[in-house]
Each structure stands twice: as C-alpha cells, then as structure tokens.
Symmetry: C2
C-alpha cells in the first residue's frame, strides 16, 4: 500500500547537494524549493525533482520602486484619540506609528482625502476648521469643542513590505535594504510587473513552479514606533487602498467611499466586525481587480510551460481562494502553512486548483532545532492534529520550510519525517478520490459565509488569542470528524434559505462580532427562516453568545429555539427557576470533565422543558431544547480537545435528531476516530493520541468490536457489504 | 458613658407579660410593637413604654374590599413570548401566573388598554387583528406573521396583597382569607381609607405610634402558577397602575402612556433599566399622588396626638424617602430592616423625619431560633457589619421583630442583645449630633442619583444576586468608612455640573444598566463635564463596566480618563502592549490577595502611562491613570470585605490626589477603623472583626501608635488639640 516517493517538497539551500540528495531519498521528495533568504545551487536544480522558485511580484525590486515612489502602496491610518482641552487641538497623527514603515501622503490633497472626526459625537469636522503642518507632521484643529475626542484618518504611504519588515527586524538583517511595495494599480508598476515576470520566466528555465509569495496587497500589518507589531489582521485590506483605487471604486460602484469606510473607528474592518455594505463593495472591487491582474500573470507563466502556485498568506489580499472570482485566476496550486486540522482543511478544500500543498511544522529554524530540544515532539503533534483533517480531505502534497541543514542534524527527526511522508502517501493513495462517510452535514453560519471557509475567528494566522480559542475549537473539531461542513452567510439564508442537505446550523461567537452576527439578527427573514427550518426538524447549535443582539426583551434573538438566554442585568427581577440538570443526556454520555474555555456567564433556561445538562456557578453551560420537530443546543464555549470533539459530535447528532445513527463508523473512545470510505469498502481506526488506546469500533451496521491501538496508530480494514 | 434605657423597640405578644417586662429591663426597651400575626395584651400596652401598632392602609379590610372589587389594585403584565407557526396564534396570556393572585381585567375595554406586540419587529399589532376569549382566557391573533414572536401586555387585577400572600404561603396559613388590596385612587377606597383611620385612631387610644406597613402600593411581587416567586422588584411600580391612574396621568402630563411604557419588554422598568422619560414621568406622577394622600393620613394621626411611622418596604411605592416630595408627607419616623451597613445608612440618612429606627437581625423566627443553633452568631455578624455604618450616621433607635417568646429561650442571645443595646445607646449618646471626620467626599454616579440613595444594585431587598454583589460591595465599604457620600444622577451632572465639594466620582455597574449608564454616556455634556472636572484635579473611579456603551471605537466612553477600555472582539487585531504591572502602588500597598468578585474580563490599557496594578489571565483588574491634574482608577469589581474596603479607600485617596492625607484618623489594619469626632475631641478605634487585632492608629496629626483590640472591641479616646 505504501509508496516511497512523491508528493513531498523540501526546502534546500546552497552547498548542501549530497545531504539534499540523501534527504530526498529518505523522505521521498520530488520537489525542491528555495525560501526567503535561501537560494538553490545549479546542481540542486538539476536533481530529479520539480523546482519551485519563490517569486515576489510587488516588492523586492527597489531598483524600480525607488524611481516611482509616487506608486508606493498606501494605507488609511487613524491617529490615536486626542482630547481637546481648549479650542485648539494639535494632533501628532503619526504618533505611535513606525516611521520606517509609513509616512503621510502629502502628494494628494489632504483636505479631500483625510478626515477629522469628533469621536464624542461621531461627526466629521469641516476641513476649514483644520490644517496640516507638513513639516511637523501635525494636524491642528482650530475650532475644536473642548473635552471632545478627535481622531485623524490620514492617507499614508507604506515604504516597507510588511513581511520583509517582519523578517528583517526579527532576524536583525541590519543594513539590508527595505523592500518598497509598489502598487500594480499604478501605470508604471503595472507595466513593470508584467515585463519583469516575462523576463524572469525566460531567465529561469529550471523553474517548474513559480511560487508566488504572493501577489499585490499584503494583509494589514502595522508596526509601532518601537518597531513592534501594532496591528495585525490576516484578512485586512488595509494595504490595498490608494487614491487611484478610491477613484476607480467611485467610477465602478457609483458612489465614493469615505476614509471612515476603511478606518472604521480604528477597527479597520477586521473580520470580527460585521461587514458594512460599503466594505463588502470595496472587497468585491479589490477582488475583481486583483483576480484580473493575477490572471494575466498566470497566463504568462503558463505561456512558459510552468505552473503558477500561490502562497496562502502575505500579499494574498483580493486573491482569497474562496472568493467568487478566484476560479478566474487560472492558478494551478495553492500552498499554505498547516498549523492544525482547520488550516489543513482551509488549504485542502480550495476549489478550482489542480493541487494543494501544506507546509508542515516545525519550520526548520533555530527556535526549534537547537541542541537539547527534540523537534520530533512538535512534528508528532502537528502530524496527529493535521492527520485527522487529512482523512476527510487530503492535501495533494506536503512539504517543509526553512534550513534543511538544520533538520539534517537531528537524525530522529529525519527518521520521523520519513514515517510521516510514507504515511501521508499511503493515505493519499487510498482516499484522494474517494468521498469519506459523513453522518451529517453541518453549516457554520456567520456574516462571512463561504468567503471565510475554515477561517472564522482568526486574527493573525496561527496566533493564539484568549478571546478566540473557545470558538476556534468548533472548526478544529469539525475539521477531522465524519461530517460534511459548509459555510453559510446570513445573506445566503436570507436570499436562498437553508440548503436541503444541511442537518445542523452552528452559530458561534461573542455578541456583535461577525461570527455571532450582531445586528444581522434583527432581520426578520433570517430569524423566521431558521425558526421554520428548526421547527420542521432542523438542528441549531449556538455557542457562546449566539444570535445575540439585545432587542425587544431578548438578548439571544433565537432564544426560543435555544431554550436559553443570557441575563444582561435587566431581568434580575425575574426568577430563574429552571436550573435543575437532567440525570443523563445523550450529549454528555462520554464526558469526564467539562471544559468550556473562556465560557459564557449568566445563561439561564427560559422554559421548564429545556434540558439543562451542565449548570454551575449560577449559569447554564450546556443545554438542549426541543423546538417543534427540531432541536436547539446551547454551549458556553468549545475549545479544542478530543473530549470536546466527542461532545460536539454528540451535540450535532442530537440536534439533528439522529442519535440512533451516532454509533455508525464510530469509535467509542474520544481519542480515536473511525473514517470509512464506502466506495472502496475500507475503513480505518485512528488513534489520534500519542498514547495507547482501546476503543469499541462501530461498523456501518452498528455492530461493534474492541480494538487496541498503539500510540498514533491507524489500522486500515476492508469490509464486505454488510460493513 | 452608658445609659441603661431607651431607644430600643421590642416586639411582644399575647400572654407574655412578665417575660416582656424582664426583657424590657434587660435590654432597656422603651417601646413595644405588635407584628403581622401577633397582638399586644392590654396589660402590656399599659407598661411604661411607647406602643407601636402596625397599621395596614390598603389591605386587611376584606369586609370593604369585597364590596368594591372594581377598586382592586391593578397590574400591567406581559404574557410569555409566543412564536406563531401559522397565521393564527392563540396566546394563553395568563400562562405562568398565579391564579390566586391575578386575574385579567375584562371590565375595561381590552382593545383600548391591552397591547399585542410583535417582538420580532417591535411593532404593535393592530387590535383589529386579535380578539380575546374571556372564557378561556386566551387572546387569538388572526393575522399573525408566521415565525414571529408575540407577547400580550394585559391589564390585570391583583386579588391578593403580595406580603400577605408571601407570609400566607410561607407559613401555610391555610384557609385564612386572602387580603385584597384596594386602590386609594378609587373613590370608595379613598373614602374608606380616611374614615377607617379616623375610627381606628379613636378606638386605639393606647397606641402612641401608628406604624404604617405601609401605604398604598406594594413593590412588584408576582408569583407563578406553582405559587412560587416569579418576579420581584423592590422598587417596582407595577401595582400602582390602573385605568384611573393612566387617565389621570394623561390629564396631568399631557400625553398618554402605552402599556409598553410600564411592561418594558418584560423588564417592567426594573431599577437596572436606564429609566425612560415616560417612566420617570410616571414615577413622578405616582409619587406626587402618594405623598398627598399620605399627608392627609399623617395629619389625621397627628390630630390624635400620635406619631406616624413608615415601614420602609412592602407598600412603600411612591413614598420613597429620598424622593422629591417625601418631606411633604409630614411623617415622623421611618423604620426599616438592617441587613448590613448599606441598609443601615439607607435608613439613617433619611431626611425630613424626627427619627429613624432599624430593625436588626436575626428576626425572632424558628428558622434561626431552634434547638442546637446559636442565634448569637448571626446577631454578632449583623451588629459588627452595621456598627461601622452607625459610627458614621447613627439610627435614632434600634429594635427587633418576630416572637419575643422564641428569643427568650436563648439566654446567651438575651445577654448578647443586652450588650448590643447598651453599646448602641453609648454610641448614640456621644455622636448623634456630631459630624464625624471625613477625609473625602464621594459621589456615586448613575441614572438614579439621589432617589436611590444607598439603594443601588438592589433587586429584592436583602437577597443575594451573583450579578450584583461585586458592585454592592462598593456601597457597603463606603457605608462605614470615613467619607461623605452623596448620590448624583447623570441629569444632575448635565444640569448642574459636579458639586464643588466632591473629591471623587464612582461609576460602577454592568454595561447598559442604569448603574453604569448605557446610552446616557452618549450625552456630550456628561462626558465633557466629567473630563474637564477630572482634568482639573478630580478623581474618577470606574468599576466593572463603567461608562460603557459601544460608540465610535470605544466601549468605555471615558476610556481616556480611566486609561483602559474593554475588548469586545472588534480590536483583537490591535496589540495590547501595556500589560506590565507596576512594582508597587499606593492603592495595593496593603493587599494580600485580590478578590474582584464576578470581575470583568478583557480589559486592557490604552496608554503606556496607565499604571497596571493587577493583571492576570490576559486582563487588567486594577489600574490607575493620570488625566491632566486628576486621576482615573479602574477596578474589575469590589465585593465587600475588610481588605476591599481598604482597597477602595486607598483608591479614593489616590484618585483624589490626597494620598498624603490617607494616614489621618486611620487604622493600618484593614479589620480595624478609626472614627474621629473633632467637635467633641473624641475618637474611637474599632475592631470590626470577631478576632483579636493589632493595629497602628494614625491620629489627626498623622502621628501613630500601636494598639491591641479584643474581638469586636471599640476603644474610645479623648484627644487634645494636637490630635
């Protein structure tokens, strides 16, 4: 069943030929890549492997950029809040920003493109009441209202590519030049990007795959005056702004954007903000433009018989793989970093490409590969976490990044990666064209829907946030479980209803974020559609502060469906009688101890018939409720763990009224999972832990048997029709 | 210094003459009272003591009430939420209510006085679209929008006085008649109330004090269909409603109220709701009427050479002692239950009366006075808690309630009360006309201001709520500490600014409650006034979610003053750099371990110069910040404890920029306090605990000495001018 070669990409570097050959052999690699900071030797390029070459479109060409500084990329930035203590207020609007990264745009008329806002009232200050001192970089309001707070939204130039800035500062690159990002929307840049690619393609005949890292606009990453990260939004459109873009937007959409449409009170339309119409229009506008420009680059690449691969990150704004124009790019492949099951699925599920590739962890950098540390631990955890997602939808390739020479010094790591690559190939070979058994279809419902498939509750890619892990656990649990998962926006439901094949809707998030939905829940079509659907048998799971927006005596707008609401302090006078927990419940059958993460407080049952499953410290953390023929389930939070995955799966089956189908292709032990592939009559029992496990395995018939699994083991079995 | 007699009221009962005389002697009682359920014998009335007689104005006269059922008291009630599953929706609006307490008002036109609301949209349903089946007690909407939720606001009669109902059910009074409350606004009732009092006064020559328990309208107390408490609001105007009142309101105020103005989405305008103008108007209207009716009763009492005493509770609605008309009642005294320092001050601070009286705990009921229990423990705790408040503003009298015969069986309790009564008299004698030393003046700022003096965050009087104790601790700490305390409303600040003598403002509460302030914080005069005042040297302490209303990029509208804001999920992209705690801080000098109660999560510093005092689990719980010449202090919560009292006092002195005056008439040990009385050149060092304590005592000069105190001890000292 195993193959020894293929589907693996290695980084290589100069003066590392023999070792590269050895590792290629041991890991079965069939592709080699360079990185930011490493180059491949000629001999290495001639090895029997595809060659990926990193390609920067809109940076790394200072010889051009320095001649066209007026085509530098731009940003809208907001100053700090400034309180007027008299009628004159001087605002050092650049205060707190990194002068090596940004400078004010004094080329365009500040009175036209900037905006001063009285944040106490929300009103825009008439431009006749302020002026800018371009020498001191201050803005002076001459007619301020004392004790009101003011901000300045100003247009800036971004002088330094954020990724290069980050690498430069982190690795202390000293006087290495700062790479200036230029804007493909501008005439010279547009021409340069195309000409240079053409020339480059001709000059790099050994390159098989142009690894775009990435295209035009970097996600928003702003540093502070100390050169530390100040603002990071992996989805941010901050760097896509320019006077040219704003003019083109007005032309295309028929109305002008205000700076505030971008600056958004200083939140800059983070994905946690329920998007405004103006911002959605702006994203659409940028996506359309970006895709059309990518298309012409990809065509050029194809014209040279090479493949175009996109790195999912860095300058990926406007090129979102789940965006509605993405298929038009013609991109062959997407590669991204795999931190867990969720990020694996985010890459593996991408439509319209020939293949996907995941860069696994650990990255071959000295922070992991140092004397005394065992990189196998991180590799094993990464592999176990990702593998369960791989069983649902495999990547087409895997790979690593960093300095290969570092990894080479750790023989046990080299061994372990050999096992991973073999296991990956064996899995892939069996299932890459086979649909796995799914007992349910789940739709994750939020303001973004499909565009942010497997990307909810993300701030900076791969970074932990106290405010998000209790929701990210939902996606992580789903990423490797026997469910089909889809992402629906509120607009989808309003316009098209709930797809017929969906069994359960999940709405998870903090109140008023885009993931919970905030004011969207005032739309009567949205609530009515869901009520009717649940009433007729659907399942609705709310996590955290689902459907929350205080209106007409309710905080959870679907409190009737969930059977619970959250006390905000207004209804303390109403006794909360229904606090008794049920003796036993399908959902909690397997749980040994609850973990709701950051959890949600002050949730209470509305009705006697609500089934309170967990109640502590005066609050319900887990409950279910009937609603017509359907069911609602409430959870206070769901950080990722094997037990919580079990809890979520049980909640899904319960919400869907399908408890009887729960023990089908199922492992009783939460540390194990069963994945079945009916088309090839095979199933596997997987131990997702690094310890031995014993589990009951339920076949498709519901018949079960017990099996013991070694740490990390997966056991493949064939089954006959009765399986 | 001690007096052996006076200022103490005892309950007595039938056939208890000799024991009553003995206890009067031992406790120095000079007044005797009956209770709900006990009567005094003739002989007892002839003892050398004032006689208080409980008097019910608007209940306890079924012989009248049954003849005028149309004058029963009324309520506006809201049905449950009902989801329409088709075009017809039948709502059993009485569902969940106690049929022995309420019945629908079918006398008045339901189409005029009831309101059906589509809670999905908030719109009122046209009365032509519904009808009421008065036999089945259901309302049928014939043109409902499927999947919308509907409620019915209906006018009901209240057939049973809530206090009697509570006592009846709790004590299982069986077939004892249900006392029907009648409405003094109605013609027959009004006449009856006056005639009966006249007659009664003539018939009760031995009564010295008419103890009104209470007047006309009970605070809102609604039971559910199982005869359990369903809704309780000690401040609720629910039972003051009637068709007559609504008509008179329209006449007086020039506009009509809607049922929704009273029902308020089912929140019934609890004190946690920021009051609407309509509700404030309604309260004003009821207060004015209530006071004028009380006035005529009090005049009648005075005409018979008796005193009128008001019980603070039960049917006290409209007679709020801190209300603007209260002084016109002519009431001689107010008596109320003392549960802690806060409730003591709530009574003791009442203006415009000749004297105040506190009924101490424990109540002489079998729940405390049973074999094997030691009632001294509760008495001691109650006394220690209340005593510190007494040192600031003494009650004029204290007393007890319940069955004296029960207390008599516990000799150690009888002894202990003897000590309390002597200690009370000795304190009173020394300080009742003397202003204690206060280092600071504090104003508690919320939507209610003076009207709810010492009454913030109260739901049902004396009941614990998880959502309130972390704020009630603020008042409890203040009630016995060396500060002057005043209560300001937002309107006070908007109209008149901040009084000159205030050193520190405190705003404490959960977001959007009346105590935090919600939308009130969008008033630019409010924020500007406070900013200017702090900037020029004032102190502002925010606790929990102070000044919170999400608007223009800020949740705490005075985030600039506090130096912190709360993360709602919208600004996760912005790094929170300022998490390092200061090495030492005046505020935390004495603290051994923090207790923020329910606490507040996700609070972060806005500025580098914010002083983070406590930071844990990713959130600031205590911090301070400079703002011009003034200071802001943030606390995540402040449940009552001796350590937290110290923490609050330090915060007040710090916020006021008066740290140097902190060690003046001060005890270093948080379990002790110093109260000084400059006018009489005396001070006392008090041990507020039931353990021995040693403390440094700082005199008025700042000079200190060490002293040891026995459990509960207070040591009085004289001081010369240098003190």
């Amino acid at each position: 069943m195993q193959q020894n070669k293929g589907r693996v990409t290695l980084p290589s570097q100069q003066n590392f030929l023999e070792e590269t050959k050895e590792l290629m052999e041991r890991w079965g690699a069939d592709a080699l890549r360079d990185s930011d900071g490493t180059k491949l030797d000629e001999e290495i390029k001639q090895l029997n492997a595809k060659v990926y070459t990193t390609y920067f479109v809109a940076r790394s060409h200072n010889e051009f950029a320095e001649k066209h500084l007026e085509e530098m990329q731009q940003l809208y930035l907001m100053s700090k809040f400034n309180t007027a203590t008299g009628n004159e207020l001087t605002i050092a609007f650049l205060d707190g920003y990194f002068e090596e990264q940004v400078e004010a745009d004094y080329i365009h008329d500040v009175k036209k493109w900037w905006e001063v806002i009285d944040r106490t009232t929300g009103e825009v200050v008439d431009p006749v009441k302020w002026q800018v001192d371009k020498v001191q970089n201050v803005l002076i309001i001459t007619d301020a209202i004392p004790w009101h707070e003011y901000t300045v939204s100003f247009l800036a130039y971004m002088k330094w590519d954020p990724t290069q800035m980050y690498n430069h500062i982190t690795n202390d690159w000293g006087d290495k030049p700062h790479e200036i990002p230029f804007d493909v929307r501008q005439p010279h840049s547009n021409q340069f990007v195309k000409n240079y690619l053409q020339k480059w393609l001709k000059g790099n005949p050994d390159t098989d795959v142009v690894r775009f890292t990435t295209f035009f606009y970097h996600f928003t990453l702003i540093f502070n005056n100390l050169g530390e990260e100040k603002f990071v939004d992996w989805f941010g459109y901050g760097a896509s702004v320019s006077v040219a873009a704003l003019e083109a937007f007005a032309e295309e959409k028929g109305y002008r954007l205000r700076p505030e449409d971008i600056v958004d009170q200083g939140y800059y339309n983070s994905t946690f903000r329920t998007p405004t119409k103006a911002y959605l229009d702006y994203m659409d506008f940028i996506q359309k433009f970006t895709v059309s420009e990518i298309k012409s680059l990809v065509e050029e690449v194809h014209g040279h018989d090479k493949e175009a691969m996109m790195f999912l990150g860095d300058n990926w704004i406007g090129a979102e793989p789940y965006g509605k124009y993405f298929k038009d790019t013609g991109i062959d492949a997407v590669v991204g970093s795999v931190g867990d099951g969720t990020t694996l699925r985010m890459i593996a599920d991408i439509p319209h490409v020939k293949y996907t590739e995941g860069r696994f962890l650990p990255y071959f950098f000295p922070d992991t590969f140092y004397d005394g540390n065992d990189p196998v631990l991180e590799a094993k955890e990464n592999w176990l976490t990702a593998r369960r997602a791989l069983m649902r939808k495999p990547l087409d390739r895997i790979g690593y990044g960093g300095y290969l020479s570092l990894a080479y010094k750790f023989p046990s790591f080299v061994d372990y990666v050999g096992k991973i690559t073999n296991e990956f190939r064996s899995i892939y070979e069996l299932i890459h064209e086979v649909k796995p058994y799914s007992g349910l279809k789940v739709a994750v419902l939020n303001a973004w829907g499909r565009l942010r498939t497997w990307q909810t509750h993300m701030v900076a890619h791969g970074k932990y946030y106290k405010q998000t892990y209790s929701y990210q656990g939902v996606l992580e649990a789903l990423s490797g479980s026997a469910t089909d998962v889809t992402f629906l926006s509120f607009d989808d439901v309003i316009k098209s209803g709930i797809p017929d094949d969906v069994d359960v809707l999940i709405n998870a998030g903090d109140a008023s974020t885009a993931f919970s939905g905030g004011e969207c829940w005032l739309d009567e079509t949205l609530t009515s559609t869901i009520r009717e659907w649940v009433y007729n048998g659907g399942g609705f799971i709310g996590i955290g502060e689902p459907t929350a927006f205080h209106h007409q005596g309710r905080f959870f707008q679907l409190a009737d469906v969930l059977g619970v609401d959250k006390e905000l302090g207004f209804s303390l006078s109403t006794n909360k009688h229904f606090t008794e927990t049920v003796d036993a419940h399908f959902i909690s059958e397997n749980i040994t101890s609850y973990d709701f993460g950051e959890s949600t407080d002050n949730v209470y049952a509305l009705r006697e018939d609500a089934e309170v499953i967990e109640y502590s410290n005066g609050s319900i953390h887990l409950s279910s409720s009937s609603y017509g023929k359907g069911r609602g389930v409430y959870m206070a939070g769901l950080p990722y763990s094997h037990e919580n995955t079990d809890l979520l799966m049980r909640s899904l089956y319960y919400a869907a009224n399908k408890e009887k189908q729960f023990n089908v292709w199922h492992a009783s032990n939460p540390y194990c999972e069963v994945h079945a592939y009916p088309d090839i009559k095979k199933y596997t029992v997987v131990n997702n832990s690094a310890e031995k496990q014993v589990t009951h395995v339920y076949l498709g018939t519901g018949i079960s048997y017990e099996v013991a699994l070694e740490p990390c083991e997966m056991k493949w079995e064939d089954y006959a029709n009765e399986g």
